[in-house]
């Protein structure tokens, strides 16, 4: 009896399991939501593309400056009128209703988000949409307890908040922005990204169904020019932006001296630091999760891997083997681990930076997983032999591209990890608790994960240092960004 005569391992492939597109209930045309109504916008229609197939998905009516003005006025009326006079408990009820609405339509939203964004259904279904509902539930709970936040007994809302959100987590970012603003008693004009407006407009339906007073939440659609017009609108009391560092800087210039509150959540180049004593298989999981989750289109992606030299070779071997098992393809297939890149522009940018890494002399490895013929897909890519001077180690690629750098001592790891204009996220992998704590204390990043990555909770504040922005979202610190108080803050 020997394996050579008895064994013949089989080629066993999984069955395709695409979710039905019909569940997403995609309409031919979507309208902006202003003053409690879906209205025809004055701007040109824009076509939103399904990045998984590079096909038009739907058209969206966009707003012009007059519509924007109406939206801000509606938000002001709603603020002055019913909303700011409601008790916290009443506001909480509305938020709970929105949360339940999201949960009830979660399957539809998951499919819609996957179609519009290109991310795999398992991420929208298992992460994005449940977290959206959690954010509304969590903030609903705070609405009547603002006096216990540590900002004095009676903190006040700011007024009208203008919010501009990105395309990488379209609905989740909308929830991150809308839920705390409403819980604190503000009203909202929010602009989703040009390439992913649909789920925010379905959220507007849910909000309308929850019977929120007209104007409390307004969803305006359009491209960057509309976003720019919104953030400079004089009718706002607060601006919250999540997106690129370049745009964040412009917004900060625009708002300088106006007295309006601003929070910015911008780019990142997160360092994932793996010490030689780490739980190696789980470190590999964390690295994969850190850079290939949502195809790396995550501002807190662990796009720089810092590995201690003694295990560098072994870790990279394991990482490549593991990455090779990732299934890239149809975002609606529940077997898909890595979906599409959100747009052709983004695909071009990733390709350009990857080419730059090759030109600069880093060794490139790409997954052999076959890519679909149509749509914007990038193979999971790992650069070894990257150095701190290379563009791939410095610039935010915002794609499934990891650069690997080695280090010898904790100080060297810290120096390299902090040697970035950004500071959004970092991670430390070690079995030694004291080392993890010592590193966390000295890493300059808003979020430090210990032996894990991409863990989010509505109760946990999220935000950055340096060019990754300022202000926090989530938890009491996130609510602070939407409140004013005469008392000195206890927590900030």
């Amino acid at each position: 009896m020997s394996p050579s005569t008895e064994s013949s391992s089989i080629d066993w492939e999984y069955a395709p399991a695409p979710e039905s597109e019909a569940i997403g209930r995609v309409k031919d045309r979507y309208l902006p939501f202003i003053d409690g109504k879906f209205i025809e916008g004055g701007g040109d229609d824009l076509v939103t593309v399904n990045p998984g197939r590079d096909e038009p998905l739907s058209t969206v009516s966009t707003v012009d400056e007059a519509d924007l003005d109406n939206a801000v006025r509606a938000a002001r009326r709603a603020y002055d009128g019913p909303w700011s006079k409601l008790s916290g408990a009443e506001r909480g009820k509305y938020l709970f209703r929105i949360a339940r609405g999201v949960a009830e339509r979660s399957r539809e939203l998951a499919v819609l988000e996957s179609l519009d964004n290109g991310k795999p259904i398992k991420e929208t279904r298992d992460f994005d949409i449940p977290t959206v509902a959690q954010h509304f539930f969590y903030h609903a709970g705070w609405a009547d307890k603002l006096g216990h936040l540590g900002f004095g007994p009676d903190p006040r809302p700011l007024g009208v908040a203008g919010q501009v959100i990105p395309w990488n987590f379209p609905l989740l970012m909308a929830a991150w922005k809308i839920a705390p603003a409403l819980a604190a008693g503000n009203t909202v004009v929010i602009k989703p990204a040009e390439t992913t407006p649909l789920s925010a407009l379905v959220l507007a339906e849910i909000i309308a169904d929850a019977d929120l007073p007209p104007g409390v939440v307004n969803v305006v659609t359009g491209a960057g020019d509309i976003g720019a017009a919104l953030v400079r609108h004089p009718g706002l009391d607060k601006v919250a932006f999540t997106g690129s560092t370049a745009v964040g800087k412009q917004i900060q210039r625009t708002l300088a001296g106006t007295g309006r509150r601003l929070t910015l959540e911008l780019g990142g180049k997160g360092a994932n630091i793996v010490f030689a004593d780490a739980a190696i298989d789980q470190a590999v999981e964390g690295i994969v999760n850190g850079i290939f989750f949502n195809s790396g289109q995550v501002c807190c992606a662990g796009s720089r891997l810092l590995v201690q030299e003694p295990i560098a070779e072994e870790l990279i071997t394991r990482l490549i083997e593991r990455t090779e098992t990732l299934r890239v393809g149809d975002p609606l297939d529940k077997n898909t681990d890595v979906g599409a890149i959100n747009s052709r522009d983004q695909w071009n940018k990733i390709t350009e930076l990857t080419d730059a890494g090759i030109d600069e002399g880093a060794q490139v490895w790409r997954s052999s997983c076959p890519l679909p013929d149509k749509g914007f897909f990038v193979s999971p890519t790992i650069f070894t032999g990257a150095t701190q001077t290379m563009r791939i180690a410095r610039e935010e690629i915002f794609g499934p591209v990891l650069s690997v750098i080695t280090f010898r001592t904790p100080d060297e790891a810290l120096a390299k990890a902090n040697n970035t204009p950004y500071g959004l996220s970092a991670g430390v992998w070690t079995e030694k608790g004291s080392r993890a704590m010592a590193m966390a204390a000295r890493l300059q990043a808003g979020v430090i994960w210990d032996n894990t990555w991409n863990k989010f909770d509505p109760a946990a504040p999220f935000g950055g240092y340096q060019e990754s922005g300022f202000g926090r979202e989530g938890g009491p610190a996130g609510l602070a960004g939407y409140l004013d108080t005469d008392d000195e803050a206890v927590i900030k």
Binding site: W12, Y14, A15, K122, A279, D333, K334, N335
Partner: protein
Amino acid sequence: MPETAINAAGPAFGDVVADEGRLRHFLDGLPGVDPVALEQRAASLATRSIKKQSKLTAIDLATSMVDLTTLEGADTPGKVRNLIRKGLLPDPERPDTPPVAAVCIYPDLVPVAAAALAEAGTTRRIKIASVATAFPSGRAALEVKIADVRSAVQAGADEIDMVIDRGAFLAGQYGKVYDEIVEIKDAAGPARLKVILETGELATYDNVRKASWLALLAGGDFIKTSTGKVSPAATLPVTHVMLQAVRDWKRLTGQQRAVKPAGGIRTAKDAIRYLVAVREVAGPEWLDAYWFRFGASSLLNDLIMQRRTQLEGHYWGGDYVTVD
């Protein structure tokens, strides 16, 4: 330590088993296991979609990997004969259903099984696996365990399922556990040795990894999760750790070793989740009854029912398959 030990470990690890101190040093130096990420990965792999042809392939593969097991004090020769017949021809109405890999029984019933297999006289052949070494507690003198193994092999067992001394393991006496596995391997002769770690009693994933390596170093042909008498028995995360161990062992030594989760795997759906783990954690070369087994008693019936469902498009229910 016996000469065979060092041979079993192979040149890559020749000296780590030379004495208790070095062995402990080596096992303690293995990378830790972080439960959060391990369980997260196990859960995410459990959602792979297996349908239609892919499911049928998986069901037949799982069927061919079953160690059809009866380990009751009340086992009778008749029950064992039935088990053999069932293992050879799991679904008489669908003779294309593959036979199981083995029956797994107590040593005193091995002669019955051997005779029943000889009588059956079909071209199909299944192995006889026997749980020896004072199964399930393992609490007996080494001589008794060795005698138990020898008698089972002499009576015709092709495979021996041994239990490790968990008491010694938890007390940190790794050398004792190691020596015992080496001796049992020696006593088992040509039979393949499955080393039962009883992971439910080892309490941590770190211990599961250490025990897996200990068994591999000592020459175990299989590492097996559980006796089925302790809860929890096999779990997906524990099996992940064991699959990682055999994968790493192969990478370092070139030798391939097998894995057997046992206990608590009752449905085709469960079994398929394990197959996905085999494919994605260890690699497709383990997708074979020589390298992967399920220790189970009731799993086979669900596999048969699900197989018929796949082929006939409707579900018949438990009364249409035999209960023994």
